[in-house]
Subunit: 210 residues, 2 copies
DNA sequence: TAGATTGTTAATCGATTAACAATC
DNA sequence: TAGATTGTTAATCGATTAACAATC
C-alpha cells in the first residue's frame, strides 16, 4: 500500500470541515460530485482522496455516509489522540496562536510557552510564560514532540537547534526564515511571503485581463 | 513564453531572503549548487527558476550575480511598487498581522483595518479601527485591490462577499474556512489545518522509523 | 428499467531530475 | 588546459483527469 499524497492530505481537513457542517444539518450522505463542486475540484480527485481513508467506500446512486467519513477522516488525521506541543516566542503572533481555541479540534495541545525576555510570567490569558532556559528540561520530562516557533527571524535557527537538541521531532515554523534541519526531523516552514507571491501574481493576471 | 509555475513562484521569496543575506555579507556571486544545498533542492530546479527571472543568466564557473538576482527577483515579485490592502477582523491574529513590519518588504501596505465590534477606535499601536460599514466606501475611494480576512469562520464568507462587492480583487483568507469566490477573484486560503496535517503525518512517519 | 454514482484503468499533464554539450 | 558551472533536451515521476464498466 502506497502512502497518501501530500496534496490529498492537505485536502482532507477541508473536506472534514464541510462534512461536519453537513452532519450538523442532519444530512446523512453526500456524493463526490457535491464535495467537488463545493471546492472547485474534479469529482475523481475527491473519490481518490476518499478511497484512501474510507473503509466501506461509497454507494452508487447515494454516495458516501457523512457520519462514516467524519469519523474516518478525524481518525486518519489523528484528531482523536492529542499531541502535545511547546511554543517559543510570545509576541503578537505567538499570543494569537496560544489563544486560538481551534487547535484542540486538530488534536494539538500547546502545553507550555517560552520567551527569552521573561522569567516566569503570566500573560493576558493567565497562561505561564517560561524562560527559554526551561525548555529542554520540560520537553524531555513531558516527552513533547512538536515545537512551534514564533520568534523573529534572527533567533529562529537558534530556537530550532535548541528544540532539536531537547528531543523535539517536528517543528512548525512561523518565522520568516527557512530553517535548516536534519532529515529525521519533520519541518513545516509557514512562509507568508510565498503565499503572498502566489496571491499577487494571480491578482496581476486578473487586473491585466480587465 | 509560458507563465512561471506556482512552485517556482513560491521558491523565489525564499531565494531572495538568502540572496539578501549574501549581499549584506559582501558576497558578489553564487552558484545554483550553493543555493540548492541551502534549501535541499536539486540544482537544476534552481537554475530553471532563475532562468525565468534572470536577464543575463549565470556565468559558467562563477555562477550568478547576487546583486542582479536581488534586483530581478524583487522586481519580479512586485516588491518595488507597493500594493494597498485592507484588513477585517482586529482580533489577536489580525492585530499580529497589522503590527508585522515585514509586509512592507513584500510590497504590501495595510491602509485600513475594520471590525464589527467598534465604532472608530484606536488600537494599541495607535491605528484606527473602523467599523466594517465604512469598508465599501473606503475601498472604492482608494481603489484598494487586496483584502485580508482575520475574522472567525462564521463571518468570513459574509466579509468576503462584502469585499468583492466593494471592488476587492484579491483575498487573503486566514479564517479556517474555504471561501467561495467567483473565478475573476484571486483567493488564497491560508489553511493551518492543512499545514498541520502535513507536519503530523511526517512526524508519525519519523516516530515509526525509530 | 433508467440514471446517478461509484471505483478503476488508461491517458494526459506538469514538474522534477538526469544527461550532456557549451563555456568561461 | 582542466574543471566548475551553466543552459537545454530528454527521461522520469507523480498527480490530475478522461473514459467506462459495474452497481444500486
Amino acid at each position: 500500500m502506497e502512502g497518501i499524497s501530500k496534496e490529498s492530505l492537505q485536502r482532507l481537513p477541508t473536506y472534514l470541515r464541510y462534512l461536519n457542517e453537513l452532519h450538523l444539518n442532519g444530512i446523512e450522505s453526500v456524493s463526490s460530485t457535491t464535495i467537488a463542486d463545493r471546492f472547485k475540484l474534479n469529482p475523481v480527485t475527491v473519490r481518490k482522496d476518499l478511497a484512501f481513508i474510507s473503509e466501506d467506500g461509497g454507494k452508487p446512486k447515494t454516495g458516501f455516509s457523512v457520519a462514516d467519513l467524519v469519523a474516518e477522516i478525524s481518525e486518519f488525521l489523528g484528531y482523536n489522540n492529542t499531541q502535545d506541543a511547546v511554543l517559543v516566542g510570545v509576541g503578537k503572533l505567538g499570543s494569537a496562536l496560544l489563544g486560538y481555541k481551534g487547535f484542540s479540534n486538530y488534536g494539538l495541545n500547546i502545553v507550555a510557552s517560552f520567551d527569552c525576555k521573561t522569567d516566569i510570567q503570566i500573560d493576558s490569558t493567565k497562561r505561564e510564560i517560561n524562560n527559554i532556559s526551561m525548555l529542554p528540561d520540560l520537553v524531555k520530562r513531558l516527552g513533547v514532540n512538536i515545537g512551534i516557533i514564533t520568534v523573529p527571524a534572527e533567533s529562529a535557527q537558534a530556537v530550532c537547534d535548541l528544540m532539536i537538541n531537547s528531543g523535539i521531532k517536528a517543528i512548525w515554523n512561523f518565522s520568516p526564515t527557512h530553517l535548516i534541519t536534519p532529515d529525521n526531523i519533520a519541518i513545516k516552514n509557514e512562509d507568508m511571503a510565498a503565499s503572498l507571491a502566489v496571491l499577487s501574481q494571480r491578482l496581476t493576471a486578473i487586473l491585466k485581463n480587465e
